[in-house]
Structure formats: structure tokens, C-alpha cells
């Protein structure tokens, strides 16, 4: 099943490993910051509403 990469196995696997790692990292970081900002905005808006109610 696994292809015979011949003498260039290290090069090909390194290229795939580094690239997939970088893609996963940018997706994960973007999702994490998105979740963080949503939660932060909800908290700030709740504070604003509470301040208005006082």
C-alpha cells in the first residue's frame, strides 16, 4: 500500500510532514483565536448591558 519512494523518501516525507504541520497549525490557531474573540465579545457586551441596567 505504502508507495516505494526510492532514494528520495526522506525528502518527500519531510516536505509532506512540514507542509501538513504548517496547514494544521494555521487552521488550529485561527479557530482558537476565533473562539477566544467570540467569548471575549460576549463577556464585554454582557458587561455593557449590565452597566446600562444600573
Amino acid at each position: 500500500m505504502f508507495p516505494d519512494l526510492g532514494e528520495y523518501g526522506t525528502e518527500v516525507l519531510t516536505a509532506y510532514g512540514v507542509s501538513i504541520g504548517l496547514l494544521v497549525a494555521i487552521i488550529a490557531l485561527s479557530m482558537r483565536r476565533s473562539r477566544k474573540m467570540r467569548a471575549q465579545l460576549d463577556a464585554v457586551e454582557a458587561r455593557k448591558d449590565a452597566a446600562r441596567g444600573e
Binding site: 508507495p3 525528502e11 516536505a15 494555521i26 485561527s30
Partner: protein
Amino acid sequence: MSIWEYANPKKFIATTTPLVPWVMGISISCLVVGLVWGFFFTPDDFRQGSTVKIIYLHVPAALMAINAWFMMLIASLIWLVRRHHVSALAARAAAPIGMVMTVIALITGAIWGQPMWGTWWAWDPRLTSFLILFLFYLGYMALWEAIEDSDTAADLTSVLCLVGSVFAVLSRYAVQFWNQGLHQGTSVPVATGERSVSDVFFVPLLVCMIGFGLLFLALVLMRTATEVRARRIKALEARMR
């Protein structure tokens, strides 16, 4: 209905939020299909051996590295002309993605170049203009972080984006401008449609290019919404002080 309605931050978030999971899902599916197809089910090239499999990462990443800058250019021009905050934030959101694409293109190019050209790096026109494009991405991101006032930051980064566009164009057409470099001509000329790549390699490459393009779109939409929220947080906190 006008496209400028989406310059309203609330409308932008309401429209794009439900789209992002779909675009992300389709992009990841395309990437998995394209990369598995390319890695496991395509033959070695008679000259390049198995290193031809690096094409499925290198070409789409390089394509998106340049196109991301052009998207930033359009968004920056919209900011400069029409002063829509969402467009400035979209340009800011695209920069880290473009930078990652540039890094992937540079690293995979170097890994491929070592066995094929006998060197990791050459001061070839395309490689050098790509390295400068990478430095422009870093400078663009640093400038956004360095300036407190977001409108001033948007103005200055837009000007930097205009200047950097010269290197984005050079990265794309360097091979045609100068002939002395090591880098070969484009494998898939969009204008002429004549390609030097056999269908065996081209079809999975096309699937990967679609995957990279959709991934870029999904990430830009998600990150722009994040930047809009961050700006709103800043404005609300300033108002409550």
C-alpha cells in the same frame, strides 16, 4: 442589492459565519483526496523520481502565496478608496495565511531543489522574488501590530501592500522576465491552457489547487470575522472607560 452591503460588519458576520464550516469541510475533503491521490496513486516521474509528489504541495502553496497578496491588494484599495473597515480587516486577516503559503512554497521548493538541482537555494529571479514576498508578508504583519490606531495602521499597511504587489507580480512572472534562473516555467499556464504536466499528475494537482484555494477562502472569512469582533471589543472597552 449591492456588494457593499457586506461592508457592514454585522451583515458580513451574519452571512459568512454559516458558510465557513461548509467551505472548510469541502476544502479539507479536496486536500485529503488530492494529497492521498497524489502521494499513493500516482507514478514516479522518469527524471524526478518520487520527488514529483512534492508538486501537490509546492504548486498550490505558491499559487495561493501570490493570490493571497493580490486579494490583500484589492482589499487595501477598497479601504483606501471607500474606507470600509471590513476590507482593511480582511487584508489583515489574509496576511498570516499568505505567509504560511509562502513558507510552504519556499520549504518544499528547497527540499525538491536539493536532489534535483544539487542545491537547497539559488539566487534565481523567482526564488529571490518569493523570498522578498515572504519578507513583505512579515513586514505587513509587523506594521499592523506596531501601530495602535487601527485606521492609521490600515492606511500604512495598504500603502505597503501596494509596494509589495510589485514583488507579487515578479514572483508570478519572474521566469518570463529573466531566463537565467534555475526555476522552470509555469507548469499550468492559465492564459494559454497549454500545460507541460501529464493528466496523471495534473488531475490530483487540480484537486489540491481547489483545496488550497477553498482553505484560503474559509480561513480568510473566519479570520476577518475574528478581526471584526476584536475591533468591536476594543471600541466597546474604550466607550466603557
